[in-house]
């Protein structure tokens, strides 16, 4: 029994080391998250850094649909208590390459609803559209909802390959928190 226990401990240690090694500081992360409250509308601007690795670029260029999923959450901050979750959005940007027209089509959806479609022949532009977004209307704070001490946190996830060559896994960034903000203005 002690031998088995020691073996289990060693295995756990190796697993923890492997997991720790996987937490690369230069890995994909939300590098910027800006919030702009205009009236009761909350607009976001963000940049996903470290995600466009060669595998992802190759996948885009090969014509496979390549999507990056963003999960955005709105919270009310409390100094001495648990923060209050208010609302959640799922923003998705997917790029597809048409080898005949030689164009990249970037489709954006929010909560599954089409938001925008952009066509470009430039790969850099397509990558930029996947990784960066400005003026994204993420939330509308309705009347009766909390307007003060709000903050947004978001993370991105995308296909990242396989574990043990058979298990497809997603790569997921850590949560990125915005600065606190208040919304003003009357309900339209």
């Amino acid at each position: 029994m002690p031998r088995l226990f020691r073996a289990a401990l060693v295995l756990c240690g190796l697993l923890a080391a492997a997991l720790a090694a996987g937490q690369d500081e230069k890995g994909p992360r939300i590098s910027q998250l800006r919030v702009d409250a205009r009236g009761r509308d909350v607009f976001l601007g963000f940049t996903l850094a470290g995600a466009l690795n060669p595998e992802l670029a190759r996948k885009i260029e090969a014509g496979l649909e390549t999507a990056i999923r963003y999960e955005i959450r709105l919270y009310r901050r409390y100094p001495y208590w648990f923060d209050d979750f208010i609302e959640r959005r799922k923003y998705r940007a997917a790029a597809t390459y048409d080898p005949v027209t030689r164009e990249y089509v970037v489709d954006e959806t929010i909560d599954g609803k089409p938001l925008r479609r952009t066509t470009t022949r430039d790969f850099a532009e397509a990558a930029r559209l996947l990784l960066t977004r400005e003026n994204l209307l993420a939330f509308h704070v309705a009347r009766g909802q909390t307007t003060r001490n709000l903050y947004v946190q978001m993370r991105a996830s995308f296909d990242a390959g396989y574990v043990f060559t058979i298990i497809p896994v997603d790569s997921r960034t850590d949560w990125k928190k915005s600065k606190r903000f208040n919304v003003h203005g009357s309900e339209k």
Binding site: A94, P99, V100, T120, R121, T165, I166, I167, P168
Partner: protein
């Protein structure tokens, strides 16, 4: 009885019911857990699948979904295999530690089975996946990539040339002096330019809005998208390739000049466009496949792994089931054997098996049933024995009480002659102490010799059929005891005898009184009988004397003779009684008993022709201490009686033999015998079976024998007649 018998089985049957209930519950719990796990797995699979499917395009959903399902199944199977394997190994390990019967066999069987299955499966898996991966790599080998790449380069080149021509046309168009052309004539001028340049379309845009356009009739030329115009504004030129409804490709090159954008379009015919599309599609498909190469490998490896794991799981399961099927009956047999050993005879092996183990289980159950029946029978016998013992104890107490309270003395002797029982009456009658009584003690007392002789005779096989008399001296004269010996149960292994000692002093006295009364009556009768002829003779003589006559002398002589005869008879009668009343004092001396017997027998030689009298002597000692005259009288009396009993023909044997502590003298005849009813009165003074006699003969014989401290009894002779047995002490 029934209740007592069924009571031990009740807890066992309740335990069996509980075990069955527990098994059922365990199976139900297993089923519930299995169903819950299955639901959890399916639910999680469906949830994750739905989430992923939402985010996938239909074109990619199939492969991704397939891969996901395969990987999900693989992970589930790996978890299941690991769980089953770990659980099995832990169970087997625990069973081995606990020393459960069959655990070693189960381990060996399981390891063998899993090893035999895992090694070829593993080899096949690694070989097949390696081969497959090499095959996939071969699909994406350099020649294929080169061919696809060159085709794409050719297509690129063709498209570039078309684009260059279009850009050149757009450049020429942008340099046309169109400001001088009136707005009305601008479409015509543009149409002329298109025709001159052999273009399929020509367009002019100002501030993002198309001013005019000219195109071949067959073409559908919508305005350029804003992104293209913006790109042209931004970079100076932009290209837009569109697929027409007829399958043709329209290359539209846009060039900025001032605030205007000029676009020239060249149409690639459907046939050429189809070829270009095929090349583009092939290239695209190849690129996609190359990107998806890890996925394809993963899918194939997953498929193989899935099959491998399924086979492995099936083999483990089969191995476990096989091992369980073999070891479970063995363990159940061991458990039942243990329970049998601990006394639970209701234990049975309840394992379903149809093979040799089933036969073994059936045999064991039959054996257990047999043991249970035997145990029940033993219990019943034990209970019966206890009941018998209880009854015996009661009877023993009753007997003990009876023995304590009766006035008859009871002595029990075992087969070796040891005294086992001597009740208080026996101790009192025989003047024995309170201590244990032994045969040696009895033998040391001369007055108890008849008792010892009785027991020793019984030990030598001569069991007397009639009681014997024992006379003991007492303060009041003598005490007459009657001893009756009976063998203890013949069926008893121990054997032995019981001697009942009855004090018959009082009875003998009364019998004696009655006998003397009878003697007086008979004496009176016997005396009276001769008196009558005497009186009649005297009266006849007197009458003749008075009458006179010639026959007077004869009458006197005859009458006198009668009177003398009768007086002689009276005298002999009186003499006999006198002899009986006053027997001479006994003068014992060492006598040759054989010679004495022969001398007595010689007196009867020729007495009766048909009767043979003989002596058989088996004596080892030469001389016996006794009174020869009185003993000869005894013999003469007995032989005389025997001669009387034999009638005209018969045989009389005087048999002499040794016995422990003395000699036996036996007079046997083949006469009419003595009925049992007469035997008790045989030695009384008044008893006679003869028509004429005093009845004192045997009484005198009995008296002489008693004076010699011996005993006399009568038994039946075989095949007929009577046998008088006299037992005398040696000294």
């Amino acid at each position: 009885m029934t209740g007592e018998k069924s009571s031990p089985d009740r807890p066992t049957s309740r335990r069996a019911t509980l075990v069955a209930e527990l098994k059922r519950h365990r199976n139900e719990n297993r089923l519930v857990v299995f169903l819950a796990l299955a639901v959890l797995v399916v639910w999680s699979a469906v949830s994750v699948l739905r989430q992923r499917a939402e985010e996938m395009e239909p074109a990619t959903i199939t492969r991704g979904l397939l891969l996901f399902v395969l990987s999900y199944l693989n992970v589930t199977l790996i978890a299941a295999v690991l769980f089953v394997l770990c659980r099995t190994l832990i169970k087997v390990w625990l069973e081995r530690r606990r020393g459960v019967l069959g655990s070693q066999f189960k381990t060996r069987l399981l390891v063998t089975y899993v090893g035999l299955a895992a090694i070829p499966i593993g080899l096949l898996f690694f070989t097949a996946t390696g081969f497959l991966q090499r095959s996939i790599d071969r699909w994406f080998s350099s020649p294929v990539r080169e061919v696809v790449g060159r085709a794409r380069s050719v297509e690129d080149m063709a498209e570039r040339r078309i684009a260059e021509v279009a850009f050149e046309a757009a450049r020429v168009l942008s340099r046309l002096p169109l400001e001088s052309v009136a707005a009305k004539r601008l479409p015509e001028a543009l149409e002329n330019f298109r025709r001159e340049q052999r273009l399929d379309s020509a367009e002019i845009y100002r501030r993002g809005v198309r001013e005019t356009a000219a195109a071949a009739r067959t073409l559908d030329v919508p305005p350029l998208p804003a992104e293209t115009l913006q790109a042209a504004q931004l970079h100076g030129d932009a290209l837009k390739i569109e697929v027409q409804r007829d399958g043709s490709h329209l290359f539209r090159a846009a060039r900025r000049s001032g605030d205007r954008v000029f676009a020239a379009g060249i149409r690639v015919p459907p046939a050429d466009a189809r070829a270009m599309r095929a090349i583009a599609s092939a290239w695209s498909d190849y690129q996609k496949l190359e990107v998806q190469k890890p996925s394809i490998k993963a899918a194939n490896v997953s498929t193989f792994l899935l099959i491998t794991l399924a086979v492995l799981l099936a083999s483990i399961w089969t191995g476990m089931t096989l091992a369980r099927r073999i070891t479970e009956p063995i363990a159940a047999l061991a458990e039942s054997t243990r329970r049998l050993r601990s006394g639970d005879f209701s234990s049975r092996v309840d394992v379903a098996a149809n093979d040799e183990l089933g036969v073994l289980v059936d045999s064991f159950n039959s054996m257990a049933a047999g043991l249970q029946q035997a145990r029940d029978a033993t219990l019943r016998s034990n209970e019966e024995l206890q009941e018998i013992n209880r009854r015996l104890e009661m009877e023993r107490r009753l007997l003990s009480t009876v023995l304590e309270s009766v006035t008859t003395g009871v002595l029990a002797f075992d087969a070796a002659g040891r005294v086992t029982v001597a009740n208080p009456a026996a101790r009192s009658l025989l003047s024995l102490g309170a201590a244990d009584v032994t045969l040696e003690q009895l033998r040391s007392r001369p007055e108890l010799v008849p008792l010892v002789s009785l027991v020793e005779d019984a030990g030598s096989g001569s069991v007397p059929s009639s009681p014997r008399e024992l006379i003991l001296p007492s303060e009041a004269g003598e005490r007459r005891l009657e001893m009756a010996l009976r063998p203890l149960s013949a069926a008893s292994e121990r054997g032995g005898w019981v001697v009942a000692v009855e004090d018959t002093t009082h009875v003998a006295r009364e019998q004696k009184l009655a006998a003397w009364s009878e003697v007086a009556r008979r004496v009176a009768h016997e005396i009276k009988n001769p008196l009558t002829p005497i009186r009649l003779s005297a009266e006849r003589i007197a009458r003749r004397l008075r009458a006179g006559g010639p026959d007077l002398a004869e009458t006197i002589e005859r009458g006198t003779k009668v009177i003398v005869d009768e007086v002689s008879f009276l005298k002999s009668l009186v003499d006999e009684f006198s002899r009986f009343a006053r027997l001479p004092e006994m003068r014992p001396e060492p006598v040759d008993l054989g010679e004495l017997a022969r001398s007595a027998v010689r007196l009867f030689e020729g007495a009766r022709d048909g009767v043979q009298v003989r002596v058989e002597s088996h004596l080892s000692r030469n001389r016996v201490l006794l009174d020869p005259e009185q003993m000869k009288r005894v013999l003469i009396n007995l032989i005389d009686n025997a001669l009387e009993a034999c009638g005209p023909a018969g045989e009389i044997t005087v048999r002499l033999s040794d016995r422990a502590g003395g000699v036996t003298l036996e007079v046997a005849d083949t006469g009419r015998g003595i009925p049992p009813r007469d035997r008790e009165k045989l030695f009384l003074p008044d008893f006679t079976t003869k028509g004429r006699g005093t009845g004192l003969g045997l009484a005198i014989v009995s008296r002489i024998v008693a004076d010699h401290n011996g005993t006399i009894r009568v038994e039946d002779n075989r095949p007929r007649g009577a046998r008088f047995i006299i037992e005398l002490p040696a000294a």
